[in-house]
């Protein structure tokens, strides 16, 4: 077991290091094969681990930090949550790596790219498998670091470099809160072990748990792009498309959800924290969906849909439905990777055009991409019997079962979001794939890139099998996650469950129908004409993501820049530099004035010397008398 786990982590690390150190000097094909093999080897290890898995197990690989009470060994924790995640991560990342080989075929700087991709996988696996919080934090920062470098991969373009910095700085705000939470936990309990911490919540007053939970929520907000720290994710698509697929699907953004799910036994005891998580998630889901409705850039639509779907996962965690949240996380990883990779195919075929209003007709010219993309969209929209339908419904059901005013309201908002989701998903499909004008740019890389989509589509569509509702025979994940569950969660009767799913299904179909009415058939051309005119204020509001960027610019960036300008021009240049300049000027003047004493006449020197000696003698005489 420990061999498999160690290999699972070491393969991507070694692959990334090798590619970084000597990738430039090795043949390109070798590096590509090597990095893909590292991730697939990691997947095989994950699979072998899953086969050998019997019960939650802690595996110590070595010691890392140890000073006084502080102990943070390199120990891993394998339980259903981490096992299901590593299987998904290695599988999806493996496919993305294969796709990236073809997508980046023309890229000169392949060694850096593949090294970072592999390190990204390594960091995420560390995060997921870590048994103690410092190790988790190592992975947490690792994914942040790799995402920063990959978002700004084409750093010669100022815009891309800015997007990378934006992602890094925004997530840093959340990380700070997380670090405070970690330090506080250590101060309270004297241990960093997650398994120990999760059993010790009852030792401290509820208020403290609430505070720690809220701090962790802020950390998760940054990483998982939740309101109010979600501004970085739409810009993060500046990176290459495979990177977007990795950030949005398998690594990075799911880390926040994972953290909350992992620490749920500790923080879930506080009703305030769970309510805060649920409200954050639900608002974010709604926010993302509304923004996605108005976007014109294909990848931006997908980025906002990710924000929205991660919001659903948070909502699930907030409702205490860890299984449902993880279920949605897994299915989402498949269909979001599928959508991003499909978008990559579309963009490649369209000569790097990303505006969906300028696309169209790809249904006939890119049939494989179309059908796979359609499958992904169906999952995203939650059309009945796709993977996304079951996973989203299990979250909605859990929220409904929580009952009460708050969760009832959240349920309604989540339903509205589901409607919007179905609408914008099919708006995207109608605009990109339907209509005339299907000229595409076929490249040699397109065929293998499309082949990668097929397994993802199959997994996305059949993802529901992972966790079927009880009336269809019960879920695999439900059984698997049973040891994680604490206490008795509210169980829905079969009738209730069917009713909830019927509601969700009808909502999704209504969204599809609305999208069809507005963007299907003849209406499509009308919309294209409309898009050329000035948009309405509401549309502009949604298009600019509720003007959050502008708000943050006025609230934080402008004052910060003004403050920095004052510090620079007034304090640094005005006070510090000026005072030093004056001082040096004064010293210089005094020096040149004193320098006139050195006339070159020896006699003057001797006289000065004698006068000095006389002064000293006089002083000594005065002392003696």
């Amino acid at each position: 077991m420990s061999t498999y786990l160690a290999l699972m982590l070491l393969l991507p690390l070694f692959g990334g290091s090798l590619s970084a150190l000597c990738g430039r000097n090795l043949p390109r094909r070798l590096v590509e094969i090597w990095v893909c093999a590292a991730v697939w080897g990691s997947f095989v290890c994950a699979w072998l681990t899953a086969v050998a898995y019997r019960a939650p197990v802690k595996v110590a690989l070595g010691s890392w930090l140890a000073a006084f009470d502080l102990k943070a060994p390199l120990s891993l924790y394998l339980d259903p949550l981490s096992l299901s995640l590593v299987l998904m991560i290695t599988f999806v990342c493996g496919l993305i790596h294969v796709y990236a080989v073809f997508y980046m075929a023309g890229e000169a700087d392949y060694a850096r790219f593949f090294a970072l991709l592999n390190l990204f996988v390594f960091a995420m696996l560390t995060l997921v498998l870590a048994e103690n919080l410092p190790l988790l934090y190592l992975g947490w920062e690792g994914v942040g670091f790799c995402s920063y470098l990959l978002i700004g991969f084409w750093y010669t373009d100022q815009k891309n470099a800015d997007a990378g910095r934006k992602a890094f700085i925004t997530t840093r705000i959340g990380d700070t809160a997380l670090v405070i939470a970690l330090a506080w936990l250590f101060q309270l309990f004297g241990t960093f072990s997650i398994t120990e911490l999760n059993g010790m919540a009852f030792l401290v007053p509820g208020g403290v748990i609430t505070a720690i939970g809220l701090l962790m929520l802020v950390g998760a907000m940054g990483k998982s792009a939740q309101i109010p720290l979600m501004v970085w994710l739409p810009d993060a698509m500046a990176g290459p498309t495979p990177v977007s697929a990795m950030i949005h699907a398998a690594t990075m953004v799911t880390a926040g959800v994972y953290l909350l799910a992992r620490m749920f036994p500790l923080i879930g005891g506080s009703a305030t924290v769970t309510a805060a998580i649920a409200v954050t998630g639900c608002l974010t889901a709604f926010y993302g969906a509304t923004c996605a409705v108005a976007q014109r850039d294909l990848k931006r639509v997908l980025a906002f849909s990710t924000i929205s779907q991660i919001g659903y996962m948070m909502l699930g965690v907030g409702a205490g439905a860890i299984t449902a949240a993880t279920f949605h996380l897994l299915v989402h990883a498949f269909f979001k990777a599928l959508l991003f990779l499909g978008a990559g195919c579309v963009i490649t075929a369209m000569h790097h055009e990303q505006d969906i209003y300028k696309m169209g007709g790809l249904r006939r010219t890119l049939p494989v991409t179309f059908w796979c993309y359609l499958a992904g969209t169906a999952c995203l929209a939650g059309l009945p019997f796709t993977g996304g339908f079951f996973s989203k419904d299990s979250i909605l059901g859990a929220v409904w079962l929580k009952g009460g005013m708050l969760y009832g309201g959240l349920y309604l908002l989540a339903l509205v979001t589901a409607l919007l989701t179905a609408f914008y998903s099919f708006r995207m499909v109608y605009l990109v794939f339907f209509g005339g004008n299907g000229h595409v740019h076929q490249t040699a890389q397109l065929k293998p890139m499309q082949a990668v989509l097929i397994p993802l589509a199959v997994f996305g569509l059949l993802g529901g099998l992972l966790n079927l509702p009880d009336y269809l025979g019960g879920g695999l994940l439900d059984h698997f996650f049973a040891p994680l569950r604490q206490g008795k969660a509210a169980e829905a009767s079969h009738l209730q469950e069917v009713a909830l799913q019927a509601v969700a299904g009808v909502i999704a179909l209504a969204g599809l129908w609305a999208a069809h009415l507005r963007y299907g058939g003849a209406a499509r051309a009308e919309r294209l004409m409309e898009a050329k005119r000035d948009s309405s204020p509401l549309l502009a509001f949604l298009f600019n993501a509720w003007y959050f960027d502008a708000l943050y610019r006025t609230l934080f960036i402008r004052p910060y820049q003004a403050f920095a300008a004052v510090l620079w021009q007034k304090v640094d240049e005005g006070v510090i530099d000026d005072s030093l300049d004056r001082l040096s000027g004064a010293v210089g003047t005094t020096g040149s004035w004193l320098g006139r004493w050195t006339t070159g006449h020896v006699s003057l020197y001797i006289f000065s010397f004698a006068a000095g000696g006389a002064l000293i003698l006089g002083y000594l005489a005065w002392l003696a008398l």
Binding site: G595, R596, W597, T598, T599, G600, H601, V602, S603, I606, F607, A610
Partner: protein
């Protein structure tokens, strides 16, 4: 008859002051300045010898012997430099050699 140390010190002080006055005042001639320095050194030697006689310890006398050797070496070197300086500027006035000023 022994001369008290006090008298020796007064004599040495006078001698030293005379040597110093010579060095400061007679700057027109570098040789006179050297002579002034010799006089000051003699004052120092006198102090050593006087102290040695007072406390009956030979160290001071030894030291003055060393000083004599030292001064003779110093004077020979200094006079050589005087010859050199005179060759350069046809002058022994120290004020003519003022190119090393600030």
């Amino acid at each position: 008859m022994t001369v008290p140390l006090y008298h020796v010190l007064v004599l040495a002080a006078i001698l030293f002051a005379l040597g110093l006055a010579c060095v400061i005042a007679w700057r027109a001639n570098v040789i006179m300045m050297l002579i002034g320095i010799e006089i000051m050194l003699n004052a120092v030697m006198l102090t050593f010898v006087g102290g040695s006689a007072q406390w009956g310890i030979a160290d001071g006398q030894l030291f003055s012997l060393m000083l004599m050797a030292l001064t003779s070496a110093e004077v020979s070197l200094a006079l050589a430099m005087v010859v050199y300086l005179h060759r350069r500027k046809q002058s022994v006035n120290t004020d003519d050699f003022n190119s090393m000023n600030g």
